[in-house]
């Protein structure tokens, strides 16, 4: 274990270079650059608020914008992070073929650069909270465990996907479908009251991303969360994280044969 932590410190400059590359290339050649990480969620949320606000008759509810923004930001990070990580090994094949570097750095750097963009984009919550007339409160501490759990979960899932993707290209397409299912099970743009009584509600509680989003909403919109919503995503994320790193450690020597 000590050896791995020491190894991690040896490679932290490489990790920071890889993270930098992700951010730089994402907005390269666009005029607004990183500002897009603020504008884009604002614009898409505006669209979602209008469309689903009208559909569910929630246009008069000022907090609906916050409701949607919490879900959208969180889900988008999870989506971009896992998708990017799943392609990371293949995308860096030419480097992997030349120099030995611990392979987990590639998917990890992918998740981390998306995480940094996510953290920046959280700034847009400020104007949205003002529009929603929601004052900051002590409940906002919930954002911290929510964000930490989200990061662990995304790294874990991304790591598992990146290992699988080396051996089976199908993962990319399969994951797109799964992501869509996860999106609908996260209650991003429909009001949760609508389905609270539904007999399939337990499916949402089994979605760790839904629990994390709900923590977010609880923190910003001042309602309390169940213990399940704190514990389940944490345990789920930790299991994914451990599986991901074990799979990576066991299989990384075989990657080169499949690239």
């Amino acid at each position: 274990m000590k050896k791995y932590i020491k190894g991690f410190f040896d490679y932290r400059f490489l990790l920071s270079e890889l993270v930098k590359r992700g951010i730089r290339l994402k907005y390269r050649k666009s005029y607004l650059g990183i500002v897009w990480s603020l504008i884009e969620p604002l614009m898409t949320t505006a669209v979602l608020v209008v469309v689903f606000g009208a559909l569910f008759d929630r246009l008069k509810d000022q907090t609906f914008a916050t409701y949607i923004m919490c879900g959208r930001l969180t889900y988008t990070f999870f989506q971009n992070g896992t998708k990017g990580a799943s392609k990371a090994i293949r995308g860096n094949a030419s480097m992997i073929k030349k120099v030995y570097v611990p392979k987990y750095l590639y998917p990890l750097s992918n998740v981390l650069y998306n995480f940094i963009i996510y953290l920046i984009s959280l700034v847009v919550l400020v104007p949205v909270l003002i529009i929603s007339h929601l004052a900051p409160s002590l409940r906002m501490w919930k954002l911290i465990p929510a964000i930490v759990m989200l990061l662990i979960l995304t790294i874990g899932v991304g790591m598992i996907l990146s290992v699988l993707d080396v051996f089976f290209r199908d993962i990319e397409y399969l994951w797109n479908v799964l992501l869509m299912i996860i999106m609908y099970l996260s209650a991003i743009f429909y009001p949760i009251e609508r389905i609270e009584k539904h007999h399939l509600m337990w499916l949402l509680h089994l979605n760790p991303l839904y629990c994390i989003i709900n923590l977010f909403r609880g923190g910003l919109m001042h309602y309390s969360n169940s213990l399940w919503e704190y514990g389940y995503p944490f345990i789920f994320g930790l299991i994914c994280f451990v599986i991901g790193f074990i799979a990576m450690k066991r299989k990384q020597d075989e990657f080169i044969l499949h690239l």
Partner: protein, 356 residues
């Protein structure tokens, strides 16, 4: 003295069938079909290779194509994980493999130097201190901010070479990299490599050129289908390699026979064309075949050959209509033209023969 590189019973197995299932469908198909197939598709690129290198050793790795030369370098560089045995290294390693690959195409040279340097394990301060040296050595001062995707392959290799050689390594791995760029840069890079030798560096060098290996290395080994054939002083190994690469006399004889047949075929074709010319001249101009031959500068002693050719043509093509005969003639001439575009010296001589 402790060895800097110790390779012990190194074996590299590649599984050809396994590499082919890229999709889940293939995987499940292979699950059932595996047991019989697996064994057949195993391929040992290296088996049971052992040797030790000490500081100052410069090893030339020789062998025919597919002998496992690049595989052994990659196994030592750590890119491949050994199937059996182990590789132990001591000190800083500079792998010069596939120069010019591994750059981020959208990045400029400046950004790539930092990214690539970090992959090679350089520290940030180290790259900053060496930055100008790298740029000047690669001769890319005017292109620092240009994305690498717009570079020529020579520029990319130069940049790769400059970054990889910025360190003073303890172990230097060279995979035919001394053929980078134009002649000037090639000399420069060879000088740079040579200057690294002054220290106690251990070099592993793959090349097909025995002269180059003789110039650079003091030790050599020959790989043959993944097996270590011999290992020792360059002066002992070089004659063995020379003998190995000498061609089989039977092979040479076979090739010469083939060339002789080709020459004969061409000679016949060319005589046939001339024969047709003679026939056309006698028909159109009302002269005797001998006069026509004289007009075509055919030496007298070959008249008889051409007479035979002419009678042969008349016999075979007399039955064809005139148009068909012309078409056939045109096709044959076109073929001769085509062959004449890339003639060997020998063949030219042979065709010339008929004229003299």
């Amino acid at each position: 003295m402790q060895p800097t590189v110790e390779v012990s019973h190194l074996g590299m197995k590649f599984n050809l069938s396994q590499e082919m299932h890229d999709t889940l469908k293939d995987y499940f198909i292979n699950l059932f079909a595996h047991h019989q197939k697996m064994k057949k598709d195993e391929f040992w690129a290296l088996s049971d290779v052992s040797f030790k290198l000490y500081p100052g050793d410069r090893l030339g790795i020789l062998g025919l194509n597919g002998a496992g030369k690049s595989t052994i370098l990659k196994a030592i560089a750590g890119v491949y994980h050994p199937t059996t045995g182990y590789v132990k290294k001591k000190g800083k390693l500079a792998p010069l493999l596939e120069l010019g690959a591994g750059f981020e195409p959208q990045y400029s040279a400046r950004e790539n130097i930092f990214l690539y340097g970090s992959i090679l394990g350089y520290k940030k301060e180290f790259i900053q201190s060496k930055f100008d040296e790298i740029i000047d050595f690669a001769e890319l001062r005017d292109f620092i901010e240009v994305p690498v995707k717009n570079y020529s392959s020579g520029m990319k290799s130069r940049l790769g070479f400059a970054i990889c050689t910025a360190v003073n390594p303890d172990i230097l791995i060279l995979d035919e990299v001394l053929s980078v760029g134009d002649k000037k840069f090639r000399r420069k890079s060879e000088d740079k490599i040579m200057s690294m030798f002054d220290g106690n560096v251990t070099v592993l060098f793959v090349s097909h050129s025995l002269d180059q290996v003789r110039r650079i290395c003091n030790k050599a080994m020959i790989l043959d289908h993944g097996h270590l054939k011999c290992f020792g002083d360059i002066n002992d190994i070089a004659p063995i390699y020379e003998q190995m690469t000498q061609e089989d006399p039977e092979e040479i004889a076979k090739r010469e026979e083939q060339a002789r047949k080709n020459r004969a075929r061409k000679l016949r074709a060319s005589r046939k064309t001339k024969g047709r010319d003679i026939i056309r001249m006698t028909n159109n101009l009302g002269i005797t075949p001998e006069q026509a031959m004289a007009a075509l500068d055919i030496p007298e002693e070959k008249y008889q050959i051409y007479r035979d050719v002419i009678s042969d043509i008349e016999e075979n093509e007399g039955m064809l209509t005139k148009q068909e005969a012309l078409k056939q003639a045109a096709a044959e001439e076109a073929e001769i033209d085509r062959e004449a575009t890339f003639p060997d010296e020998e063949e030219q001589q042979a065709v010339g023969d008929s004229d003299n």
